[in-house]
Amino acid sequence: MLSGVFSFVSAGLLVHLDAVDVAFTEAAVGAGISTVLMLSTLALTARHESLNRRPRAIPLIVVFLTGLTLVYGTLDMPRFGDPNAPIHSHVSPKYVNDTAAEIGMPNIVTAVLASYRGFDTFGEVTVIFAAGIGVLLLLAGTIRNAINGNISAMEHHLVLRVVTKVLIGPILLFALYVQFHGDYGPGGGFQAGVIFATAFIIYALVFGLETARRALPGRVVRILLATGVLIYGGTGLISFVTDHNFLDYSVLGATAVAGQHLGILLVEFGVGMTVSAVMVSTFYAFAGQNPPISDEDW
């Protein structure tokens, strides 16, 4: 249940493997969102698994055989850390060597993400957008709207309330830092979006969902959700209508490098907006459900 620890371990491992950007994402996602999502689903379903009467032997054998086959397959794989592995010989050297001249920003990952492989990322953002819409479609009908009576969301936890109040500001500030510092250090729209959403989630956890909804209404979040994708696509369209390829940012600025900078900034902003809106609206949808739990489930 405490899958958070899993995330801590993987983030440490990723730092060791030099993937700081990925570790950053894993940290942002694993520390808050995934735990919260799992817990809110558990709150809406049963906590205990009913006794499993299936045979255990067959899955075990299947898994074991598949594993052995895969191990056999690895024998031909390139060795760990081998600089001559096929994966390093195709497009990656171009990215590593040309980023400084063509994009002019130190973080190669951001450059590849937003510029060289902008199409890929556009697709990913659309997938996130679609998933967010799907969650809203599935759950929006059963969201409980107003609450009569007192909200008893941790009212009496004075220490928690004060510390949360102190922390939310820095978290939001840090999200902005990550958003706009992504060109130079690890970070970018994906991470910033998740961190931004986490700030609202912690606010909702401690001060009550209703209070959070008053600060950031669900309607606004849904508008942001679509606006982010529009910003991304719109940035691509600008270059499209000026006789360039879709998502070719060189036309946006006076020089090609300046254009790339501006384009990446805009695109990352769109990504951050969509990601944070999806996360917040997903949380609203899950947490706003009527808990159908009867006592015998517990």
Binding site: V5, A31, L160
Partner: protein, 93 residues
């Protein structure tokens, strides 16, 4: 020097994992997970120095900020049985 620190932190993390696995009550587990998180923050910081690129402290900083959200979510869930608002009278603590 940094290697020794990293090794000590790893040992401490292993011990926290032992408690996480054994912990008789839920709260023991939450406590162990929380302390595991603290040690991860330190380990990532030390590892930055170890590899000579200490400008990646952002990850540590992020964990330092977000570490307690998971803890609070778990505690709230097991106390109120929901992560949303609970109306007075249902889901007694």
């Amino acid at each position: 020097m940094f290697t020794a620190t990293a090794l000590a932190l790893l040992a401490a993390m292993a011990l926290a994992l032992v408690r996480l696995y054994a912990g008789p009550s839920l709260y023991d587990r939450v406590l162990a997970a929380n302390s595991f998180g603290t040690k991860t923050v330190l380990l990532i910081g030390v590892m930055g120095f170890l590899t000579g690129r200490p400008d990646f402290l952002d990850i540590s900083l992020l964990y330092a900020l977000l570490n307690f959200i998971g803890t609070i979510a778990v505690l709230k869930f097991f106390r109120y049985r929901t992560l949303g608002d609970n109306v007075e009278g249902e889901g007694k603590p």
